[in-house]
């Protein structure tokens, strides 16, 4: 009887049922779409941070350089070796310099960081720039002014003329990585797409992993060699950055990088990459390192996220703020409309419910009937809402608008340094483009079902409350 009555009533009041269901569907659909877009935004942001930061890296530790001396910072110097008179004027020079702007850290800091509570792993990395000059340097010749014909001899002027250079300059970034720990560090944001990565036994090996974009540009393949500071490194692997820009063009074992640098970099690193025991510990670990490691600048992905701008950031704010509140407002409105329509439907059925109570139906049974109808309405609305929401999310994913995340600025800011974060933050307007997808997760579907049920129950409560208060005598008297 319950289901027969319920089914027939819903069919009889089709219009009202459709209005209630559509209202709920709109609210629930909006919630699903906004939640999916928010998830997509979060994924996009994670992807951006991931590309800048590296999977497995929760924090980086760098050290900012002390204030520049009066007159500005000293420019980086490099030298090109000259030859004696009569020597070959062709020259090849290779300078391997640390990236400027930040002080290097003793690798004892890595151990110090590793010993902090909540730290799962910590490794050091050294970021360098290799600048190679190859070409002909033609020295100038000392010349003297010659008198014009018929001119009176005078004091002759001496000058240097005829010199010049025809030089190719090749510059690329080299990062020395800790080969004993692959889960954290600058290479963790890349996948080895060809060959193999480093193993713990490669500490002193002449092996290099080359970024795929750089390898393509220089036509490098596994088994080829790259020359760094005169040393030939065999390309053992090609690394493809998961998203956006890679951390470095070439990766070599840390010890090799320290040994080869033009300035004394033995026992030095430029960035310490830290992985916390759990994401909940990141704040505490950051505080501990800040407190216990002198002069350290600790940057978390949250710090980096704050510096991510561009339309990804704007869209994310939009989805998280306006979208969220709009969904809540529409949902509340839908619940209210559903409730009021259900109450109104009960008011129109006063005689019906009064009669049922007169023939012996308990109030509870009448309320159950009303609640059941409202609940089914809610479920229908939920199903429509899920379809609407999935459709909306699909539309967003199909259109897949490209969002741009811009990081950094000239000032670098906290957390800069020679590492990936420094790279991101120092490079003004460095952008990563991400196509927005709006994944509909199981959580969101469950949320929709819960909302639909809640909508139905709330509407049913409105109607049930009205039905429960009906006294049969009043109901029948009103008919008269």
């Amino acid at each position: 009887m319950f289901f027969t009555y319920l089914r027939r009533e819903l069919r009889r009041r089709r219009k009202a049922a459709v209005v209630v269901a559509l209202g709920l569907a709109l609210g629930i659909g909006l919630v699903i779409t906004v939640a999916s877009v928010s998830t997509g935004m979060r994924d996009a942001q994670d992807e951006v941070l991931h590309s800048l930061y590296g999977v497995g890296t929760d924090l980086t530790v760098t050290k900012e350089k002390a204030e520049a001396e009066e007159g500005g910072a000293k420019p980086q110097r490099f030298s090109i070796g000259g030859g004696a008179d009569g020597e070959d004027t062709k020259r090849t020079d290779d300078n391997l310099m640390p990236l400027g702007g930040f002080e290097n850290l003793d690798d004892s800091v890595v151990d110090q960081v590793r010993q902090q509570d909540g730290v799962a792993a910590a490794v050091g990395a050294l970021a360098l720039t290799d600048m190679q000059f190859k070409g002909e340097f033609k020295p100038g010749e000392i010349k003297q002014d010659q008198p014009e014909p018929g001119e009176k001899p005078k004091e002759r002027r001496m000058f240097v003329g005829g010199g010049g250079a025809d030089v190719d300059v090749d510059s690329f970034t080299v990062t020395g990585v800790d080969v004993t720990e692959s889960g954290v560090g600058p290479l963790s944001s890349s996948k080895i797409s060809g060959g193999s990565g480093f193993t713990a036994s490669d500490t002193n090996a002449l092996k290099a992993v080359v970024d795929s974009a750089y390898a393509k540009d220089k036509d490098l393949q596994v088994g080829d060699t790259v020359t760094i500071k005169g040393k030939k490194f065999e390309v053992s692997g090609i690394a493809t950055a998961d998203t956006g820009a890679s951390v470095s063009n070439v990766y070599i074992p840390l010890k090799r990088a320290q040994d080869l640098a033009d300035v004394d970099m033995k026992g030095k690193v430029s960035t310490v990459y830290v992985k916390a025991d759990s994401s909940d510990d990141i704040g505490a670990v950051k505080s501990a390192i800040d407190k216990n490691v002198d002069g350290a600048t600790v940057t978390s992905s949250a710090d980096l996220a704050e510096q991510v701008s561009g339309n990804l950031s704007t869209a994310s704010d939009l989805a998280n703020n306006i979208g969220k509140w709009l969904s809540i407002a529409v949902l509340i409105a839908a619940f209210l409309v559903a409730g009021l329509l259900t109450m109104s439907a009960v008011s129109r059925r006063v005689r019906e419910f009064g009669t049922l109570k007169a023939v012996g139906w308990r109030s509870g049974r009448v309320v159950r009937q009303v609640m059941g109808e409202a609940f089914v309405n809610g479920i229908i609305g939920g199903a429509l809402g899920i379809a609407l929401g999935v459709g909306g999310a699909w539309l967003v994913s199909t259109v897949a608008p490209t969002l741009t995340a811009t990081t950094g600025g000239e000032q670098g800011g906290p957390g800069g340094g020679p590492g990936p974060i420094g790279k991101a933050l120092r490079s003004a307007n460095e952008s990563v483009e991400i196509a927005l997808h709006a994944p509909v997760t199981l959580d969101v579907i469950v949320l929709a079902v819960v909302l639909a049920a809640a909508g139905g129950i709330i509407a049913g409560c409105f109607g049930g409350w009205r039905a429960a208060r009906l006294r049969p005598a009043d109901a029948l008297r009103r008919v008269e």
Partner: protein, 227 residues
Amino acid sequence: MYRLSGVSKRYRRGKQTIDALDGIDLTIDQGDKLVVQGPTGGGKSTLLQMLGGLDKPTAGSVELDGTDLAKLSEARLTKVRASTIGFVFQSWNLIPTLNARENVEAALVPLGVRAKERRRRAAGALESVGLGERLTHLPSELSGGQQQRVAIARAIVKEPKVLLADEPTGNLDEDMRDEIMAVLESLWRERGLTFVMVTHDSSIARKAPRLAVIRKGHIKVSENTRA
């Protein structure tokens, strides 16, 4: 069966107080047929609601088989209505979305009768009022007289002791009225029901063995020896 002592019912309508019933004493024996007449607003329907446990008196007692309905909880009253009292209303009050058999079944739902048994009894009740061929018709597919027969079947399907009818022929033409009255009359006689009916129809009232007239909340009962 029924013993009403000093029953009063007072309503408040805004600032006005209305005495629908004013100290009524009445006895109705098992198997009695009582027809209630009176002007509109005189208290007829209020009396019927008191007898049916649909409302409680402001003062006095309404005893049904020794139980004072005025003192019962709403849940107990609902139980009494479900098992003992059948109602027939002027406007039939059928559930428009349920067919004839389902409308009759609705009276058996609160008694916990199983679905199969409900269907069987509902079909039997409809058969007894001459609607055995109209089981699956919706109220909108039935004439006024047929709808009232469905309402009567709903009232008797639970085999009540009491049948209360509030102007059951009020919305029917003369032919239909006679038809419905014939059905009610035969049910009363065959089943030994206690039958109380409110009507405006004097031709029906003239045939009643007992006639109660209610005016301004007061009742006057007369016996009709010719009926």
